[in-house]
Every structure is written in structure tokens, then in C-alpha cells.
């Protein structure tokens, strides 16, 4: 899809009808309390919509409807190929409404229209389609039991799933969760982040139009205490999948322990290292990866490579090239297709990132933070104990740590409570593979920054993750229960066998 002009995007934005109610049991419903919260465009500070501020009673209602849908089998027992058909139709409707979704996403989150049009929306559709197409291609197993027995190992949808989403990729994280959950046959209750609710509501409406039965996909907007915690503590939710901060993620383990021991899958924070050795080839290309990894999506990205661990012999050369490429990351109106860095998602988050930027003592590039926007910023830090090297900033801030050798680089890369992603840049194959094995992270990339793709699992080691993976067929597993069916085939003793 070719990009439009800034004026055209503004015209589309002005004409949008924004959804404001929760989407439960196949329809839009205001919060039972009647309460609302204000959704703000972070790039302008203008009010976008007054959105239903749901609470415990709305969660209860959504779960009740999701449970009814699950138990009567309107989705969970639908023939797999029919489930696939519905989800493929859903993807077609999303494609038809791609532009509306992209503009809505940009307005709500501050993300650039460029990213929304070229990454977020197409990847969202691709993800949902991938999981849909897998539905009727995943087989159960028969175990190697004796002739007198047959044992089937089958997977069944886990039931009612609570999905709690972050604000950094509102559409894409929705797809990462609902793709495999719906494919597995589950009913879901989704809590979008309060900062970014709009597209999830619209997506649910489109799913309904595509023929997804009532009650299967419910979107319950609201705050963490009002909606997130009730989901975590709900006695009739079988599983929660959460993406967000490590602090909040850990709470879901507590909620589970204190309620019904529901399954919990967590995708949490990261302070991801990019290790550049002195033998790295093509430093210009390396610099491009470093810049992409650090600044893409304003650095509001748990997989952002926010620590550059670089050998002293190539540091200066690399930083020169990083500075050249960082210049392309201009800050501005998210609806301008030329803009690469939009607004941070909210005033509160901007304040937090700005306070980190103000702590930087040795700024190499950038360092400006004003009116909700932060420049691409690179800072030298004295060592890995520095706050800017340890804490997840979730903004476009790259902290540079100098090292003198491979072992030191790996040791520093691993010296973090997180373990989501890591990358290593080296021309030495043995060193690349040794490094990839030694780095304690869920995804390790060699000579590139990336997250893999829909076909590869995504998730973290250590305090970056718990209990499962998004993407790939492994994501399907976490929304299912494993069941053994053991059948006795023994003939009666006196029955002859020819």
C-alpha cells in the first residue's frame, strides 16, 4: 500500500468515528457503571474520545459470556476448517479497513503513520492469518504404547483466556495473543492498555462482522486495578497471557496463586544488549541495525537493543556511523509519512523518559526531550552499573558501554535481570555461535537486530518472561491443555488370534 500525504492522513483522521464502548458478547456496551476515561492524542494533547471505564462487574459479565460461548462449543467445537474460514474472512475485513486502523493507531499511540502503515497493521494481519491457516494443520499424537493399548496425546483449548496488552504495539500485541488463542478454540477477554484502546475495539467489531460468534472475543477497556487485576484474580478464567512491565507481570503470578492457580504466561521487560566485537564486518551496516534496534517505535519496545556493548577498537568508528544514521530518525507529527519518531505514548511516560535523559552525563547524540517528543539519543555510560545501563527506559535512548574483549562483553551482556533479546556482531563464526549460546536471552540475533518472525517463538529468559512464548506453533500450545487418552485394547484371554 502506498503512503498518502500528511494532509490526506489528517483528513482521514478528522473523519474517523472512534469506538468508545466496551465490546462484550458481540456488541458495544458502555461500562455498567457508566464511567468513562479520556483517551488523548499524545502528539497534540487533544481529547480523542471518552472511553468506557470498565470494572469488576464488566469483567464478570465478559467472562460469563466467554464461558457460555466456550461451553456450548459455538467456537471451541466448530470444525477446525470452519474456524479457519472465519478468521481468514476476519483478515480480509482487516485488510479492507487497513488505512482506518493505521490512522486510528497513530492517533491513539503517537506511533508514526509510516510504522503503522508499513509494519503494525500489515504484520497484525499477517500474524492472524498465519495462526488461522495453522488451525487445520496441527495434528495430535498417538504414543508408542503396547499392542494392547492405544494412547492418544491430544490438545484441547484451555478455555477462557484473559489477555492483558501493553500500549506499545496495540494492534500487533492483540494479534499475537488472539491469533493463537482463537485458533486454539478459546474464548478470550482482552484488556487493552488504557492508553491505547481504540483499535482493539474496532478489530473486535470487524471480527464479529466476519462471523466470529458472540462472546468469543470480548474487549474490556479500563485501568489495571479496575480490569487487569479482576482478570488476574477471576475464578473462571483458565489462563492469563500478559505482555507489559516486569513489575506488573509478577503481580499476575500472585493473582493466580491467590485465586484458581490459572496458567500464566508473561512477556515482560528487557534491557537488551547489542554486542559489537572488534572483528565486526561492515560497520556501516552494523550501525544501521544498532539504530533500528534502539530507536524503532521511539524505543518503546521491550526488545529494543538499548545497551550497545562495543569493543574499544571499533567504538569511535561505529559511533560516527550511528550518528549519521540517527540523523534520519527525525522527530515530528506522527501523521507526517516522513516522520520516523512520533510522540511518546503519554505525558506520564514522557516525563519518565525525559527524567532518564536528564541523567545522562556524556551525551553523544540527541538528548532533547520536549512536549512529548524525545530525540534519538545516544549516551556513553561509565559501566554496566549505571542506571541508564540497568533500567528499562522504554524510550529512544541507547547506552554505550566500552569493553576490551569477548568474555567481558558476554559477561556484561548477561549482567542484567532481563533476558529477552540480544545480538552479537562479529565476522568470526565460532565466536558468533559461542556468543549466541552464551547470551542468556530468548532470541539472539547474529549480525543483525530483529525478533525473528511469526514462525519463530518470541519470549524471554529470566525476568523477561515466564511460562510460554508468543508467535510460532509453540504459541498454540500455551492456549491448549494436554490430555492423554488411554484405551485398553486387550482381547479376552480365550479369544483366538489367527
Amino acid at each position: 500500500m502506498s503512503l498518502l500525504t500528511q494532509d490526506e492522513y489528517r483528513a482521514i483522521a478528522a473523519g474517523l468515528t472512534l469506538p468508545t464502548s466496551a465490546f462484550i458478547d458481540g456488541g458495544y456496551r458502555p461500562a455498567i457503571s457508566g464511567k468513562t476515561f479520556t483517551s488523548v492524542n499524545p502528539a497534540t494533547g487533544e481529547t480523542l474520545a471518552e472511553i468506557a471505564a470498565c470494572g469488576q462487574e464488566d469483567v464478570d459479565f465478559a467472562v460469563q459470556k466467554a464461558r457460555e460461548a466456550f461451553d456450548d462449543g459455538r467456537w471451541s467445537k466448530m470444525h477446525p476448517s470452519e474456524r479457519k474460514d472465519v478468521l481468514i474472512r476476519f483478515c480480509k475485513l482487516l485488510t479492507r479497513n487497513e488505512r482506518e486502523l493505521a490512522v486510528m493507531e497513530s492517533l491513539d499511540s503517537g506511533k508514526t503513520i509510516y510504522d503503522c502503515e508499513t509494519v503494525d497493521v500489515p504484520e497484525t494481519i499477517h500474524c492472524l492469518k498465519w495462526h488461522a491457516e495453522a488451525i487445520d494443520k496441527i495434528y495430535d499424537q498417538v504414543s508408542p504404547a503396547s499392542d494392547d493399548h492405544i494412547a492418544m496425546v491430544v490438545r484441547e483449548p484451555i478455555g477462557v483466556v484473559g489477555l492483558v496488552l501493553p500500549w506499545n504495539f496495540p494492534l500487533l500485541m492483540l494479534a499475537w495473543k488472539i491469533g493463537p488463542a482463537l485458533a486454539a478454540g478459546c474464548s478470550v477477554v482482552v484488556k487493552p492498555a488504557a492508553e491505547t484502546t481504540l483499535t482493539a475495539l474496532r478489530v473486535a467489531e470487524l471480527a464479529s462482522e466476519a462471523g466470529l460468534p458472540k462472546g468469543v472475543l470480548n474487549i474490556v477497556p479500563g485501568g489495571g486495578a479496575e480490569v487487569g487485576e479482576p482478570i488476574g484474580r477471576h475464578m473462571d478464567i483458565d489462563m492469563v497471557s500478559f505482555t507489559g512491565s516486569t513489575v506488573t507481570g509478577k503481580r499476575f503470578l500472585t493473582y493466580s496463586a491467590e485465586s484458581n492457580a490459572k496458567e500464566v504466561v508473561l512477556e515482560m521487560g528487557g534491557k537488551n544488549p547489542a554486542v559489537v566485537m572488534d572483528d565486526a564486518e561492515n560497520l556501516d551496516r552494523v550501525a544501521q541495525h544498532i539504530v533500528n534496534g534502539a530507536f524503532w517505535n521511539m524505543g518503546e519496545n521491550c526488545s529494543a537493543s538499548s545497551r550497545l556493548i562495543v569493543h574499544k577498537d571499533v567504538k569511535d568508528q561505529l559511533l560516527e556511523r550511528v550518528a549519521l544514521h540517527a540523523k534520519e530518525w527525525n522527530v515530528g507529527d506522527p501523521l507526517d509519512p516522513e516522520t520516523r519518531l512520533g510522540a511518546l505514548v503519554s505525558q506520564a511516560h514522557f516525563d519518565k523518559v525525559a527524567s532518564y535523559v536528564s541523567q545522562a552525563k556524556d551525551v553523544v547524540i540527541g538528548g532533547n526531550a520536549k512536549d512529548g517528543f524525545v530525540d534519538a539519543t545516544v549516551v556513553n555510560v561509565p559501566g554496566n552499573d549505571d542506571t541508564l545501563a540497568r533500567e528499562e527506559i522504554f524510550g529512544p535512548v541507547l547506552s554505550v558501554i566500552e569493553v576490551t574483549g569477548f568474555d567481558e562483553a558476554i559477561q556484561i551482556a548477561n549482567d542484567t535481570e532481563y533476558g529477552l533479546c540480544a545480538s552479537i556482531f562479529t565476522a568470526n563464526t565460532k565466536r558468533a555461535i559461542r556468543g549466541a549460546r552464551a547470551l542468556r536471552a530468548g532470541t539472539v540475533t547474529v549480525n543483525s537486530f530483529g525478533e525473528g518472525d511469526i514462525s519463530t517463538p518470541f519470549g524471554g529468559y529470566k525476568q523477561s518472561g515466564f511460562g510460554g512464548r508468543d508467535n510460532s506453533l509453540h504459541a498454540h500450545d500455551q492456549y491448549t491443555q494436554l490430555k492423554t487418552i488411554w484405551i485398553d485394547l486387550a482381547d479376552d484371554a480365550d479369544e483366538a488370534v489367527d
Binding site: 468508545t20 458481540g26 455498567i32
Partner: protein, 307 residues
């Protein structure tokens, strides 16, 4: 629940008194309004079918609503009916309601055209957009030919103004559906002979034509069921009211009967605008008989509680 507006209590769809020549009898209307407020009803509806809206122009309806709003003078809320054949007329009524400071709208499906749920919902959302006031939906498929179905209810949820529904289908399954699946929409009784059932399912309000002339008795049932939660007493009162409900709901002369009831209380009503005609002698006698017994019985039941 704290919806955008609470429709609590007895809402009276006020009759429209006429002079013999068909002109509005403003003095009589003022008297009826004063009487209803004095007798403790909780809200008034102007421009409902009981007010003979189908026999009035849009301008006349807005004029009546304005007069009613002024007479109420802030003491209880006014809900303005927007039911009309044409969307444009409904929008004009909604805007008129907003202009005069009405508290809410009563929004019915357009009669005769039989819109689908989707069409009906888009119509309702257009009317809502014109006024941005709290809305009491009015589901009366026998009159409009259209049921406000689940798709309709799901779609109108785009706006949180839709916070009440006067349910007049007579289908008890609708009561169960609304109570269980649409908890954000306050369900109100719009089918008088099922008032007890509605209250049992948690209805906070009752839109009752009969309260035009028996306000205290209707308030008594509301008090017993909703305020006191005493359904034994409620059943006794309902039982005493059922003969009236039969006359009203099952006699085919609902509005005529209400209007005669108002006349029985000494107010000039001036009969009906065409096409309807007033009650005949036998019907009048039957109503008078029913009302006499009902009043005495309910007075006895409510005074028992006071002993």
C-alpha cells in the same frame, strides 16, 4: 449501577387534554401535571403514544414538551418522546427536547417501515447524535412491527446514552434477556400486566399510562417491590391491579381508557383526536367499577403496613 441517568420510579406518559374543537387545553394539562407531581410520580414523559403523539404535528409536540418542562419547573425529570415515522422528524424532536432542557429522550422504532436491526440501530444513533441526551429505548413491536433485537441492542451500545429501555413486547423472555445480557441498560416495565415480574427481575422503573389517574396506586406497587423489597405485599397490590390491567392491556382501548380515567378524576380531557373515539357507556361503567374496587383494596393493603 451508576449509569449516565437513573430512570428510577414511576414515569407517567402524560395524556394530552383537548378542547372540544381539538385545540390543546393548556389549563387542563397544567392541572394534570400538578396533580401527578403532587401524588408522587417520579418523572413525566411528554409526547408518548398515551399523549396521542401520532395525532400531533412535530411543532405541536415540541410545544407540549416545552409547556410540560416549564410547568414541572425542575421538580422531576422530563423525558420527551421522539417516536415518528421519519428519522428527520425524530431528529427534530430530539433537538427540540435538547433545546427546552429535557432530561432524556424516549426513543421508539419508526412504525410501519419495519427496519432491520441494523437500520433501526443506525436510526437510533442518528437521533442520539442530534441531542446527546440520556435515552430510554421503547421496544413495542406490536405497535411498530419491529423488535429491538440483540443486534440492535449491541449496535446502539456505541453510545453510552442508551441507558434505559421501556420493554413493552409482553414477552417474558425479553425480560430475562435484558436482565442477564444487557445489565448496562436499565430495564423498565412497559407492559403493565407484567409489572410484578419486571420488578422481580430488578427493574428500577415503570412507565405506566394508568398512573395518569391512579398515581398513588402505581407508586404503592413500586414502593413495595423496589424500595421495600416486599414482594408478598407487592403481589397483593398487583393482584388488586390486575383487573385494571386487563381493561387497559387487553381491551384494545388503552389510550381511551386512560383518558377517561383522567376525566374521572375531574380533569377536562376533551376526548380523543381522530382516528380514535372515546369510550362507550359500557366501557366507562366497567372502568369505574374496576377503579373503585382497586382503590379500596390497595388502600387496605397499604394501610396494613402502617399499622
Amino acid at each position: 449501577m451508576t449509569p449516565i441517568f437513573n430512570f428510577d420510579g414511576i414515569y407517567t406518559p402524560v395524556v394530552t387534554p383537548f378542547h372540544e374543537d381539538g385545540a390543546f387545553n393548556w389549563d387542563a394539562l397544567a392541572d394534570v401535571i400538578e396533580y401527578l407531581i403532587e401524588k408522587g410520580v417520579h418523572g413525566l414523559i411528554s409526547g408518548g403514544s398515551t399523549g396521542e403523539n401520532y395525532a400531533q404535528t412535530i411543532e405541536e409536540r415540541i410545544e407540549i414538551a416545552k409547556f410540560t418542562k416549564e410547568r414541572i419547573n425542575g421538580r422531576i425529570p422530563l423525558v420527551v418522546g421522539t417516536g415518528a415515522m421519519m428519522t428527520a422528524d425524530s431528529i427534530a424532536l430530539a433537538k427540540g427536547a435538547k433545546d427546552i432542557g429535557a432530561e432524556a429522550l424516549l426513543l421508539a422504532s419508526p412504525a410501519y417501515s419495519v427496519p432491520t436491526d441494523r437500520e433501526n440501530a443506525l436510526n437510533a444513533l442518528a437521533i442520539d447524535k442530534a441531542a446527546d441526551l440520556p435515552i430510554m429505548l421503547y421496544n413495542y413491536p406490536h405497535r411498530t412491527g419491529t423488535m429491538m433485537g440483540e443486534e440492535f441492542l449491541d449496535r446502539v451500545g456505541r453510545s453510552r446514552n442508551f441507558c434505559g429501555i421501556k420493554e413493552s413486547s409482553g414477552d417474558i423472555n425479553r425480560v430475562h434477556l435484558l436482565a442477564r445480557d444487557y445489565p448496562h441498560i436499565q430495564m423498565g416495565c412497559g407492559m403493565d400486566d407484567q409489572a410484578l415480574e419486571f420488578f422481580a427481575w430488578g427493574s428500577p422503573f415503570w412507565v405506566c399510562g394508568g398512573s395518569n389517574f391512579l398515581p398513588e396506586e402505581h407508586v404503592a406497587l413500586y414502593n413495595a417491590c423496589v424500595i421495600e423489597g416486599d414482594f408478598v405485599k407487592g403481589r397483593k397490590i398487583m393482584s388488586a391491579m390486575l383487573p385494571l390491567m386487563r381493561v387497559l392491556e387487553q381491551g384494545g382501548k388503552f389510550i381511551q381508557t386512560i383518558k377517561h380515567g383522567v376525566a374521572m378524576n375531574g380533569f377536562e380531557t376533551g376526548g380523543m383526536r381522530p382516528p380514535l373515539k372515546g369510550l362507550n357507556k359500557d366501557d366507562k361503567r366497567a372502568l369505574e367499577q374496576v377503579v373503585r374496587v382497586l382503590k379500596a383494596t390497595i388502600a387496605e393493603i397499604t394501610s396494613e403496613g402502617a399499622k
